[in-house]
Structure formats: C-alpha cells, structure tokens
Amino acid sequence: MWATQTIAEFLGEYCSAYFPKSLGPNFQYAVAAIIHAVLLVHVFAVCPGVFIWLERKVSGRIQDRLGPTRTGGLFGWLQSLADGIKLVQKEDLCPPAADSLLFRSAPYFVCVASFAAFMVLPFSAGWVAVAADCGLFIILAVLSLEVFGIIMAGYSSGSKWSLFGGMREAAQMVSYEIPLAICALVPVIAAGSLNLGEIGGMQRGGIQNWFLFHNPFAFIAFFVYFVVATASCKRAPFDLAEAESELVGGFHTEYSGIRWSFFFMGEYASMFAVCCIASVLFLGGWNTGIPPLDDALYAARNASASGEGSAIVGYLANVLGAFVFATKASLGVFVQIWLRWTLPRLRIDQVMTTCLKYLVPISCFLFLGATLWPLLLATAAQRSTWTPDPLGNRTAAEIRESQVSATPTSPAQASVAPAAKATIQ
C-alpha cells in the first residue's frame, strides 16, 4: 500500500473492490484530486498560523520581550488560533463608498493566488499535486496574480489611503517580479529543466551538488533571489506601502475581520512558497546534503517504487525528504522574520530604485554569467562542472524515469496511451 506512487493509483488498486466498476478512472481521479486539494489547503492554512506565532516570538526575542506566553501553554503556541477565532467573530464591514463586489472578492484573489502556488511544489521526491513539466513557470505566473487582488482591494475600498497603498504595493510587486524571475532562471540554466521535481532530484549527493554552489553566479543569485522574494512578499524592509505595524495600513486600510486576515494568510503563505522555491532551486530541495544518507534514501525510494525493497522504507524516506524540505523553507521564513525586525524600512523611492537600478541589472548580469559559465569551464578545464562528479550522477533522463509513474496523467491520456503504443508498433 505504501509503494503506490500517487493517490490515484492507490485508489485504483486498493479501493476499486469497494466501488462499482462503472465509476472507473474518472471517479478515481476526482477523489485523488479532492485528497490533494484538502492536503494542500491544510498546508496553506497551517503555515500562516505557525509563522505568525513564530513572527511574534522572534520579534519578542529581538525586542527583549517574551512574546505570547499565555494562550496554549508555555510558549503561547495557540496564539494564532485564538487570533483567528477572534477575527472570525468580528463584523464583516464593507464601507459605503466601496464597490462591494470587488471589495469582497479581493481577499480571495490574494489567497487563491498564493494557494495555487502550492499545487506544483514538490514537497519530496514525487510528492507533488501536479507534476507539471513547466512547474517553475506556472508558480511564477500564479504568484504574479496576487498583485491583481491587491490592486482591486486598493481601488475598490473607496479610500485615499487604500488607493495610494494599493498603487505603491502594485508598483513594487510588479517591478520585483522581473528580477525574481531572472534569478530563478539561473539554476534553471544549470538544470536544463523547468520541472521542479527534476530540479530537486538533480541536486542529490552532497552539498556541493546543490545549485547554490553550482557556479559563482548561482551563489550570488541565491542572495539576490532572497532579497527580491522578501520584497515581492511585501515584507520589511520593503513594506512601506503598508507598514502595518506603524502607519495606516496601505491597501487593506478598510478591511476588518476575516477578510483582513485573508491578506495575511496570503502573505505568510507566499513567504513560505517563495522560500520553498528557493529551497528547490538553490538548496537541494528534499536532499539532505550528506552523500551517504542521500544515496541511501534515493536507493530506498527507487527500490520501493520498483517493488523490490520494503515499501514502507521508501515511504519513510519520502517523509524524511518532506521534513528536510520543510525545514529548509522554514529557515528561509525565519530569516525573513529576522530581517524584518532588524532592518529599518526603506522609503518607497528607495524601494523602487533598489529594484530597477540595482537588482534588475545585477540579475541580468548573473543570468548572462550563468549562461557563459559552462562554456568557460568547457574551454578552460574541459569539464562540465567544477565538482568531482559531473552532471552524469544526476542527469535529467534518470530522474525523469523515476518520476514517470509519479506523474498523474489525465484519464483521457491513460485511455489513449495503449492505442498510441499500438500505432507505434
């Protein structure tokens, strides 16, 4: 049971006995899709809770306070839940000057955009809801939709604060998307793939195989990416457009209650999402970085996938991978929180200058350097990477083989595939 690679396969193999045959693969895929969606909604809902609590504790420590201590035992770990319950109970206000349809639907846009990013994120080898071939492109496209919700919130509130906040926020996010995408392309050049599962799999076998250390340009690109990602999640020191801890509150000035909290759920979820992307692209994804352990986990996964080894060991290897992945991403979020409570805020013109005059040229230079790096190595040292074992240890083809069974194919494809094989023969 543990050996099945996808939930749809699991349903097909073990539950088909209990359901009438006429429901067939459609029913199977529908149930699998619902299970994926429910799991992801929980990731999406729990992460902000944990990170808001972490934000309070870390900011407390940095400011020589204790942070929440009372709600839920010693460390106040139920604080976020208590806040959530309070926010649900608040009145759902809509100002008379606002365009109520747009005003009410804007928070959902923000939430849906950052939630949809989790669809294509691989949490461990093969643990991905949609193993899309252009996963990174889809993530960047979906995260760029968040801006629209913010503009709508700012415009439809019918308030000057919201309008200015929304315009600044939108200008900031749209500008920072450019260096974000260019920096994300630097490891893609090294990997030769936009499939996040493949990119993660290629970094197996030691810390030197992480794309962070693939070339000097990727090393710098990681830090540029992190700065840009912090800014595109509108986190301090780039949060002048809202400045929720001191000033009026930017685009969400007029919001209250649960709709207000949706913006924050979206913000913390997209913080986690960009840190997950950083973890897959630069920090080895679910790989531990310890060569013997990585190889053992890889062997266990493959053995259970091919049905030779113990299936539950392969499953546990994936659980460990997901744990490693979540740890890396959470460390990224921790650094973002740490930065927020350490650095002073930039003025809005400084925010824009930093992006357009510095980060965009820097990331273009890194992109160019990363494309030239393989040529340089090939001419100067006659090799493809600086590490002892070249890309042969982690070719795209090998990883694709191991992922083929994990890729959910649509029922239409599944039914057509035998026919296609027949025509080839």
Partner: protein, 194 residues
C-alpha cells in the same frame, strides 16, 4: 466495460467553458471599467484552465502571466492613474449596443462556419501522447523554438524541419526594439520637463 455518458475532463471543460463565456458576457454588460477587468480576469483565468485541461501547461501559464498578471494589471493601473472620479464608468448608448451586437453576431457566424467547415483530425491526442509521454509538454516546445521539430522529424523524413526559430527571433528583436523605444521615449519626456 460500458463507456460513461460523459467523462471527467468533459465535465471540467463544460464548467470552465461556461465560466469563460458567462464572464465574457459580464465584461460587456458591466459599466464600471474595473469591474470589467474583474470579469475579464475570470474569463481569461478559465481560458487558462482550459489550456491546462488540454495538457498545454506552457500556454496556460503564459496566459495567466501575460494577460491576467500583465495586461489587466496595466489596464487597472491606467484607470487608477487617469480617472477623475472614484469609479470610472462607461455608458453605452442603445445604438452602440445594437451595432456591437450585430458585429459580434456576424463575427460569431464567421468563426462558427469556419470551425464547423473544417474536417478536424481525430488522432491529435494520440500523436501528442506518442511524442510527449507522461506530461512531458515543455521539451518539444523548447526544441521547436530552437529550430527542430521532433514530432515532425522522426517518422519518415530525413530532413530537419525548421521549427519556430525564425518567428521566435523576429518577435524577440521586435520586442527588444519596442522596449528600447519605450525607455527612450520615457526618458526624453522627463528631461524636457526638467
């Protein structure tokens, strides 16, 4: 095993096609520009979903990135920066409505007759699955932008087909010229203002 009357992808197709069409109608009917943008987001977003449904991940993501994330944001920006009142409204006179409806119906008739007049090949899906197994949708596209079409080269020709290299290059150079031109125009204006 008897075939079900309607399968899963078809249900999803009907849902998303309905959302696309209904919100497209809502774009025309609504009066406020930003509301139009909102309905257009729904319409274009469901069109992207239709692309995803047809296993065209790249086109779907490009649809989201360019139309929803780019063009519509630009549209709302334009409204926010230029509107004199709080909510910019566009009122259509009855004559314009009739004229627009006539043009739209005529266009729909042309498209419909063109689409229904073509004998569509039924083995498209078979061919695409044969060359892109297991959701491998991006690599053939990238290869054809680099100038080879593996799906056309492989079967019975000994010659490489050109792919989309030339159009790709032309579009790239065109976009570069437009970018430089836009930057130049923006810069010149600011200098004269100072």
């Amino acid at each position: 095993m008897n075939e079900p009357l309607i399968d899963g992808p078809s249900i999803l197709f009907l849902i998303f096609a309905a959302i696309t069409c209904l919100s497209a109608v809502a774009v025309v009917v609504s009066q406020t520009v930003v509301r139009m943008a909102f309905w257009l987001v729904l319409s274009l977003g469901s069109a992207a979903a239709l692309f995803f449904l047809a296993d065209a991940d790249f086109v779907g993501a490009a649809q989201l990135l360019i139309y929803v994330g780019g063009t519509l944001v630009l549209l709302v920006f334009g409204v926010m920066l230029t509107a004199s009142g709080p909510y910019l409204k566009i009122a259509t006179s009855p004559g314009e409505t009739i004229l627009g409806a006539a043009v739209a119906l005529l266009f729909m008739f042309v498209v419909f007759s063109a689409v229904s007049g073509v004998e569509w090949p039924t083995d498209n899906l078979t061919r695409s699955v044969a060359f892109n197994p297991a959701g491998n949708t991006l690599r053939p596209l990238g290869l054809s932008l680099l100038g080879t079409r593996p799906d056309q080269d492989l079967p019975d020709s000994d010659q490489l087909s050109p792919g989309y290299l030339l159009p790709f290059e032309i579009v790239s150079v065109h976009l570069l010229v437009v970018l430089i031109g836009a930057a130049y125009l923006a810069r010149a204006k600011r200098r004269s203002a100072i």
